[in-house]
Amino acid sequence: MSTTHTRLRHGIDLVYVPKFADLLARQPELTARLFTDAERAYCDRLPNPVPHYAARFAAKEAALKALGLGISPTGVDPKLKDIEVVRRGTAPHLTLHGKPAEHAQRLGVADSTVSLTHDGDHALASVIMVTKEAS
C-alpha cells in the first residue's frame, strides 16, 4: 500500500518597472531572448506593454524560486524563456518547457498556479507549485 505526500513550493518576485523599462530600452534584443512569441504578442497588443513584461519577468523568477533554482546570476539565462505565462480566458497560467519542465518533473511537480499584479512602479508575481510523491 502506498500513500501520496503533497507538498507546496512557493516563489515570489518583485520587479521595479522603471528599471526594467530602462533595461529593455538599452537592450532591444532582450525582449526576444526573455519572452516567448505568445508572451510578446500578448504584451505588444496592450497600450503600455512594459508593466506586463515586467510582471511576466517576475513570474519567471518566481517560478525559478519555487523550483528551488534561485535567481540567475548569468545574464540572459535560457531557462527564463522556457518558463511561459499563457492566458486562459482572463487568468494567467504557467507553462514550462525545456530544463524547467525537466526539473519540475524531477521534483514531482503535479500542478502550478501563478498570479500577477502591477501597480505604478512595481510588478509582482507569485507562483505556487504542488508536488506529489509516492512513499
Partner: protein
C-alpha cells in the same frame, strides 16, 4: 595566446564600474570577494544589466547558462542536481574549481545557494578567461598584431576588425569535458 593588451587590473576596474552604475553604489567601496547577491544586493535584473555592460565594454559574450545547467546538458540529467534540489559531489567539486574561494560550496547544499558565490572577482575571472582566447592571427586578414586603444576592446593591427572570442557558454562546455577527462568528477557520466 594570452591577451596582454587587457590587464586583470583593467578588468577589475571595469567590473567595479559596471556594478557601481547598475547598483548605484560607490565603485571604490566594492570588494572583489563580496557576494554580489548577498553583500551588494543585486537582483537578477541587475545581472542582466551588469553582464550586458561588460559584454559591450570588452566585445565578448559571457556565459548565459549556469555551470550546473551546462553540466546536466553535457553529462546527463541529474548529474549536477538531485531530486531534493541538492548539488551532487561532482557538481560541488567542479564549482570549487570555478570558484576556489567559495568555501560554502559542498555536496548536498541546495542549488539555490549557488548563485550567491558570484563575486566581482569571479566575474572578472570569467571575462579574463574569454579574452585569453585572442587568436594568434586575425581570421580576416591573417595579420598577427593586435592593438587596443582603450585597454578593453582589441582590434586587428592589420585590417582594424574587432577581435572575436569564443563565447562563455562554449568555453564552459569545453572546460567541463576537459575536467571530466582529467579528474573524472562525475562517476556515471
Amino acid at each position: 595566446m594570452a591577451n596582454s593588451l587587457v590587464t586583470r587590473e583593467r578588468i577589475d576596474q571595469e567590473v567595479r564600474a559596471a556594478l557601481a552604475t547598475t547598483l548605484r553604489i560607490d565603485a571604490n567601496g566594492i570588494g572583489m570577494e563580496q557576494s554580489i547577491i548577498n553583500d551588494l544586493g543585486a537582483t537578477s535584473i541587475d545581472f542582466l544589466d551588469i553582464n550586458f555592460r561588460l559584454e559591450q565594454v570588452f566585445g565578448i559574450r559571457l556565459a548565459s547558462q549556469l555551470l550546473l545547467d551546462h553540466v546536466e546538458e553535457e553529462l546527463g540529467e541529474g548529474t549536477a542536481i538531485d531530486r531534493d534540489n541538492k548539488i551532487t559531489a561532482g557538481a560541488a567539486a567542479l564549482l570549487r574549481e570555478q570558484f576556489p574561494e567559495a568555501e560554502s560550496i559542498k555536496a548536498g547544499i541546495y542549488a539555490d545557494e549557488v548563485p550567491a558565490v558570484v563575486t566581482p572577482g569571479s566575474i572578472a575571472t570569467a571575462v579574463e578567461k574569454i579574452i585569453a582566447h585572442l587568436p594568434d592571427a586575425c581570421p580576416a586578414c591573417s595579420a598577427a598584431s593586435w592593438k587596443s586603444d582603450d585597454s578593453t576592446k582589441v582590434a586587428c593591427g592589420g585590417c582594424g576588425k574587432d577581435a572575436e572570442y569564443p563565447d562563455g557558454d562554449e568555453l564552459t562546455k569545453r572546460w567541463i569535458h576537459d575536467m571530466q577527462r582529467e579528474k573524472q568528477l562525475f562517476a556515471n557520466a
